[in-house]
């Protein structure tokens, strides 16, 4: 690039240096050009593209001096702007092909204006009343979303029927014989076999009843009968002695073991 391209005025160099520091904050060359054009402090339509090209080139030059590496896209545009600048400065060559410098400059101006317009539009959009911030939808939509997992439902009538069913169940139970608490002889026999070793001396049968069968009279009666039957069984097999002083008196038992008597 010829040296005379980089001959920006001092204020332009200052602007360029200030912007170089923020280069990471720009969204590409067009964003940077828009920022540079705003430093011209004129309506976008009247921005001098020639001056803008110079500002941009000063920016690239400043970056070089500050040893800040610019992304390739910034350098591509720098080359293009250098070309545009030369086209704008040189008298038009009628033999040259392609668009004129003015056409290219006009298009760049259009692009800047269009980007600026979209920025403004975005800001106006965001300034509108927004759903969930200024305007609200129904807080409890009654629609069951299709994405919803399984929900459970029941109608009031189902609930009432269920309750009616429970409350009337007793009235219509199929006949079956109620069975009271019964301590089986099998259980008594098993328990007594385990206790035999402890009955080295006379023990009252009533004291051998399992704890939870010894209080309630019905249960005690069942347990006593079962235990007595079990005791008879053990006497029969020769493992136990039984003794009762008189009818309705306490019954005593004692393990027989090897002893006699």
């Amino acid at each position: 690039m010829p040296d005379d391209v980089f001959d920006p005025s001092v204020p332009e160099r200052r602007v360029a240096e200030a912007l170089v520091v923020d280069v990471g904050g720009f969204e590409g060359p067009l964003d940077l050009l828009l920022a540079l054009s705003q430093s011209q402090k004129v309506d976008l339509r009247r921005v001098s593209i020639l001056r803008l090209a110079e500002q941009y080139l000063a920016f690239v030059e400043a970056a070089k001096r500050l040893r800040i590496e610019l992304a390739a896209e910034y350098l591509v545009i720098a080359a293009w702007l250098a070309y545009l600048k030369s086209r704008l400065l040189l008298p038009p060559d009628p033999a040259a092909e392609g668009p004129s410098g003015e056409d290219l400059a006009a298009h760049l101006a259009f692009q800047l204006e269009r980007l600026e317009a979209m920025r403004t539009a975005a800001a106006r959009l965001m300034a509108r009343d927004q759903l969930g911030r200024d305007v609200f939808a129904r807080g409890t939509p009654e629609q069951v979303a299709r994405t919803a997992t399984v929900t459970h439902s029941a109608a009031l009538v189902d609930l009432l029927r269920a309750y009616a069913r429970i409350k009337t169940r007793d009235e219509f139970q199929p006949l079956h014989l109620a069975r009271g608490p019964v301590y089986t002889m099998e259980a008594a026999l098993a328990r007594m076999r385990g206790l035999l070793a402890c009955a080295l001396d006379w023990v009252e049968l009533a004291s051998w009843l399992p704890g939870d069968w010894a209080v309630d009279p019905v249960r005690r009666r069942s347990a006593t009968a079962a235990s007595f039957a079990a005791a008879l069984e053990l006497v029969k097999s020769g493992r136990l002695d039984l003794r009762q002083e008189a009818p309705f008196q306490p019954i005593y038992l004692r393990a027989r073991g090897d002893r006699t008597g």
Binding site: F136, A137, R138, G139, T140, E142, Q143, V144, R146, A148, T149, V150, T151, H152, S153, A154, A155, L156, V157, D158, L159, L160, R161, A162, Y163, A164, R165, I166, K167, T168, R169, D170, E171, F172
Partner: protein
Amino acid sequence: MNESTRRSFDDPAFRVVPGPEQERMVEAVLFAAATPLGLREIEERLPLGCDVPEAIAALRRRYEGRGVTLARVGEGFAFRTAPDLGFLMAREVVETRKLSRAALETLAIVAYHQPVTRAEIEEIRGVSVSGGTLDLLIELGWVRFGRRRQTPGRPMTFAVTEAFLDHFGLETAQELPGLAELRAAGLLDNRPAPGVPAPEPERSGSLL
């Protein structure tokens, strides 16, 4: 007008809101709320000095007979589809599953006997209540834990929630019909009517 009243008049929070405007505000707040709101909750959202009960009464009148009505749900208020238009929403209830019989019975017992302990539920149903059943009802938001019963073991009690009342369209659990009413409504006709004039079972005293 003294100094302090003049100041409060300038403060937007103290400015008196005209009645129709209060009604609009309550309307918007109830519409946007995710749950039924009680009077106090509505008041907290409105500028100071609003007469919420008055605004609610006006709104209830305004929505009377409309497609949407302002319903009282437990201690709160919420907009609800008019009961006679429920059929319009039927198509949306696609992925719902019916409650199992066990869950339905347990729910019914909680509703009629609340606060009720698990042991009492089992006694009434005549079978043990699986842990999953109560868990499901709690998860559905229809049953909640009540206070512990002041008896040995201090068992936990269960009660129904506002969401339950809301779902079944009840203002209070006291509104549940009693057995005699159920029978009158033909809800017991799936079983042969007993020959004896059915006495109300002993628990009926706690029904209502």
